[in-house]
Symmetry: C2
Subunit: 233 residues, 2 copies
């Protein structure tokens, strides 16, 4: 019997339309785990033994190139699935997952994905909506990398993080987990030097404030203009 209560996940959009008793059954198959920050949850290329739901925290999804370069593919926020290789028809994880802060995670054995997906169609449909949204996001990023200047890409990455995880503070919108300049460079395909140069310039103009692994957006509108948000719908 599981000690996890259905109220843990009932309010997560992913479980919208899933009956209470199905939530209970889903949770009875789950294991909850804690990861302190900067812990690897799974590695790229590893057999996909489990799929995961982030209950609390932030997870960094990182691809490693054959040359050993790192690219941050996305950040996972609480309430989101990750490591859903089986739903994508893969049997190995396509990237590393690393806790950016202390995290609480539910995990299910990968082997039950098929039966779970057949048994809980509302959950499955929501999962595939997530996959669809990530496909859109990845294609947006392809377009961004192919057409935008470095300055736009960096501005966009910071805006996206502020939207996804921003917390209102006295100074402005603080990105609610540690983000280093190196992280921004790995998100945007830019050198560390360029990210530093841009952040320093924006800091002088009062657009952002940044410290060690901390970024606060002060003038979101100006950042949106830099990101090309002006001409966007």
């Amino acid at each position: 019997m599981s000690l996890l209560d259905a109220s843990l996940i009932a309010d997560i959009p992913l479980f919208q339309g899933v009956a209470r008793q199905d939530l209970v059954e889903l949770l009875s198959k789950a294991k909850s785990e804690r990861y302190v920050k900067e812990r690897t949850i799974f590695n790229q290329g590893e057999d996909a033994h489990s799929f995961f739901l982030l209950l609390d925290g932030h997870i960094r999804v990182v691809r490693i190139t054959p040359e050993g370069e790192q690219v941050i593919v996305r950040y996972i926020s609480s309430g989101e699935l990750f490591g859903i290789a089986h739903a994508l028809g893969l049997d190995k994880y396509p990237a590393n997952a690393v806790s950016a802060v202390d995290c609480v995670v539910l995990s299910w054995p990968g082997a039950i994905w098929k039966s779970v997906s057949e048994k809980f169609p509302a959950f499955t449909a929501n999962t595939y909506k997530t996959v669809g949204a990530r496909l859109q996001e990845a294609q947006d990023k392809v377009v961004e990398l192919a057409t935008e200047r470095v300055e736009q890409r960096v501005a966009n990455a910071i805006l996206k993080l502020a939207n996804q995880t921003g917390k209102k503070t006295e100074d402005g919108i603080l990105i609610d987990f540690p983000v280093s300049r190196q992280d921004i460079s790995e998100m945007t395909g830019t050198t560390l030097h360029t990210v530093s140069r841009l952040l320093s310039a924006w800091e002088q103009e009062g657009i952002v404030k940044s410290g060690r692994k901390k970024i606060t957006v002060i003038e979101g509108h100006k950042l949106a203009v830099l990101a090309g948000g002006d001409q966007r719908s």
Copy 2:
């Protein structure tokens, strides 16, 4: 009653595991259409009125940026679904679809996606495998754009097209539909000038042969080395 025979689609991997009578029912809801080359099948932002299966030909999927720049997101080959906005949880097409050659296409009303996906689970599961594969592909491209030099990206794009659609000829592997230097530049986020410079250099080295909208790979191994295939698994 439909005039389309189940044999039209029975051998397509997408329909693997779908019972014959289900194929017949699926086809009874489909409409077949012909598009001469360079015809727009749907536009980015348009209501997703239909979803499509390419029976024969090649389709170019193109994103237009707010600034009017074009990026070729992928090519669709025969046997593949496209315009599956509904399966992604979208109600508008996220890109343009244009016939790169004369095409034969099946289309279904978008409104029936939900009932079709519930009624034919094998087809649905295969569709989501496709979506998963495209997510992987898009993330590969993000990594490529973020880390690879222009030369690698152009070599990679040509190799991929040759693998996806190549036809053996006397000279080597011919990409089996018209591809211009402009197309390659829109696939790789590179200027037309750079693509022309690279192709001319590779032509002098006997690696490829290219004419108006025609590219033949002569020395695939050398191209793979340029693409960084050396160090890849």
